[in-house]
């Protein structure tokens, strides 16, 4: 996603990314980054928490306007108030790569180094 952001910024648009894994996002040198400590999938906040979602979105937009230095990062001060480990519903299918690596443990190294098998 950070790579997409770089392309779009280079094409003449002002961009900001709202990331809950800012260390990873920042590693590809993105122009503007707003970091938030919310779980994956709940980047803007809990479902139907309109007030919190609005506050997060407003903070991101204000950062988009205020940032003046390429690569700037803001750590948003929001505190997650939902469950510590939000779980998908019972019977939810795990990502295919997870089952694959469990069946083929030697493939884990390839995943870690993003050494994708070419077929």
């Amino acid at each position: 996603m950070g790579l997409a952001q770089r392309e779009i910024e280079a094409a003449g648009f002002s961009t900001i990314i709202l990331s809950s894994i800012p260390d990873l996002t920042a590693s590809v040198s993105v122009p503007r980054l707003a970091a938030i400590e919310y779980p994956l999938g709940y980047t803007l906040g809990r479902p139907n928490d309109v007030q919190d979602q609005t506050a997060v979105l407003r903070a991101v937009l204000q950062a988009l306007e205020a940032m003046e230095t390429p690569g700037e990062v803001v750590h948003l001060p929001f505190e997650w108030s939902g469950p510590e480990k939000p779980k998908p519903p019972e019977g939810h299918e795990p990502p295919p790569i997870v089952g694959h690596v469990q069946r083929h443990p030697l493939q884990l190294r390839r995943l870690l180094t993003r050494d994708v098998p070419q077929d």
Binding site: L24, T25, P31, K85, P95, R114
Partner: protein, 168 residues
């Protein structure tokens, strides 16, 4: 006052290890920069989500392809109109709980929140079109070569000024 976001608070052992390894593989690069051309209250804003969200009436993202080859992710993109709600879309990302979008699309693609900020004149306009891609792409080349330029062209046609990216 200043607090630093912990990237790993919600992430389990294996994923954490993977992400840390991926971070070490990257080197700093030159950073592109486009200043916001006018005050935010006059800007047209669009959203891009990597949660593989598509209108129910649109072509689904290819989940079967990823089930067949877990190293692969669908590199295409979909356009989502500004009027879309959770009832109009589906989430196809196999690494994200699809019920989040059923409960509230704004968790991942805050269209309604953005429209409210337009109504409050905090931004100029919400773009007519917004975008979604599949975030799980171990090989992002095809998406960067085909989908991103198409999104850029669409944004140009709609005279978008600013884009918020929401990874999933």
């Amino acid at each position: 006052m200043a607090r630093k976001v912990d990237s790993y608070r919600f992430i389990g052992g294996m994923t954490k290890r993977m992400i840390k390894t991926w971070i070490k593989m990257e080197n700093p690069r030159e950073i592109p920069w486009t200043p916001l051309p006018k005050p935010l209250r006059d800007c047209k804003v669009a959203l891009l989500s990597s949660a593989a969200i598509a209108l129910k009436t649109d072509r689904p993202f290819d989940q079967e392809g990823e089930r067949r080859n877990p190293w692969w992710g669908d590199p295409s993109y979909r356009v989502i109109p500004r009027t879309a709600t959770g009832e109009d879309v589906r989430l196809y990302h196999l690494h994200v709980d699809p019920t989040i979008v059923e409960r509230d699309l704004n968790c991942l693609l805050p269209l309604q929140r953005l429209v409210e900020l337009e109504e409050a004149s905090e931004i100029g306009q919400v773009a007519d079109s917004h975008y979604s891609m599949m975030g799980y792409l171990l090989q992002p080349e095809t998406a960067l070569r085909e989908s991103i330029p198409a999104i850029i062209e669409h944004m140009r046609d709609e005279e978008v000024d600013g884009l918020i990216l929401v990874p999933a």
